[in-house]
């Protein structure tokens, strides 16, 4: 196995937030389409520098319910939300990404915002 950096002490760790989202589209989208769309939206709206600060990270997407989870830096949740709000299409098809809620842990996020979607 390739070596990787060690887990940092708590004060040096990135402080994340998890964002639950729902995609409303002309058609259903695949996980990889969503992943790419989120990155493209971040790069366009926040730029390379803003994206490196906001640290958006695709966590998962349920293709059946078209809902998913992404992660970002705690201090940049609003910017990531804005980048998603500016998105108008995914891989050529019209779409809206609506954020459902934000939480510090995936567990609480599922419980509070994704339960109604069958998570």
């Amino acid at each position: 196995m390739k070596e990787r950096p060690k887990t940092l002490p708590p004060t040096l760790r990135d402080k994340h937030r998890y964002i639950a989202f729902q995609v409303i589209g002309e058609r259903n989208f695949k996980k990889d389409e969503i992943k790419k769309a989120i990155w493209d939206a971040a790069l366009r709206v926040l730029g390379e520098l803003g994206t490196s600060r906001a640290k958006p990270w695709f966590i998962k997407f349920n293709e059946r319910t078209q809902t998913g989870i992404l992660r970002c830096d705690r201090k940049h949740v609003e910017e990531v939300r804005f980048a998603l709000a500016m998105l108008t299409e995914i891989n050529g098809s019209k779409a809206i990404i609506r954020t459902l809620g934000v939480s510090g842990t995936i567990k609480r996020l599922r419980l509070k915002f994704l339960k109604e979607f069958g998570w």
């Binding site: 409303i24 366009r44 609003e78 910017e79 939300r81 804005f82 998603l84 709000a85 500016m86 108008t88 019209k94 779409a95 809206i96 609506r98 954020t99």
Partner: protein
């Protein structure tokens, strides 16, 4: 607190917005070059109110006098004016319509200044910050519109002008949920509480006054 979407210009958009908001105002676009047929307009408003409950007229014109005429007719609908023309922006604020939507619309500047902000505050005219123009713009255009909106927010805040954030959606695909609309407010410089008041407190005040 209620979430209110103040400016939805399409039926399908209205249906989607209804799912995400406590109240939605349906906006009828009214391009005017001369006086409209007021009887026909009143009838139309009646129909729209039956269907949508709360209705606004969005006056789109280059003739300031038509705004006053319309305003004096007591049409029992919210009166919005589409911003963009500096003379129209000023006139809309002076005669006290309910809202001026996007004073920067289609302009190469922000279309608003401290003089206009003072008039808006005095006459209780809200400034509408719309997301839809951003959705249609290319990257260069979007950066410019955002710049103008930041400036207008600065003026609105400083002079305590009523304000709201809206999608101004002309299709279903331009509707955004309240929390996502708020992110536009934060992007242009609002505190989160100010952004929240811009989809709740201020819209509610305006709607209550009219209905």
């Amino acid at each position: 607190m209620k979430f209110i979407e103040m400016d939805i210009r399409d039926e399908k958009a209205y249906e989607l917005a209804e799912e995400w908001y406590d109240e939605v105002v349906f906006t009828k676009k009214l391009p005017l070059n001369g006086s409209p047929d007021y009887e026909k307009l009143k009838e139309e408003i009646r129909e729209l109110k039956k269907k949508y409950g709360k209705v606004a007229l969005l006056v789109i014109t280059n003739k300031p006098s038509l705004i006053r005429e319309l305003k004096n007719r007591n049409l029992r609908a919210l009166i919005y004016v589409q911003g963009g023309n500096m003379k129209v922006n000023r006139f809309a604020l002076e005669i006290g319509v309910d809202a001026l939507i996007s004073p920067e619309f289609g302009r190469k500047d922000n279309g608003f200044d401290h003089v206009l902000a003072k008039i808006a505050a005095k006459n209780d005219v809200a400034i509408g910050f719309s997301i839809s123009q951003l959705l249609k713009a290319n990257p260069y255009g979007r950066a410019n519109i955002l710049k103008f909106m930041m400036k207008n927010w600065q003026l609105v805040e400083k002079y305590k002008v009523p304000r709201f954030i809206t999608s101004s959606a002309e299709s279903k695909w331009e509707v955004r949920a309240p929390r996502d609309l708020m992110s536009l407010g934060v992007a242009i410089g609002m505190e989160i509480s100010q952004a929240k008041a811009s989809v709740g407190f201020y819209p509610e005040k305006i709607v209550k006054r009219a209905y």
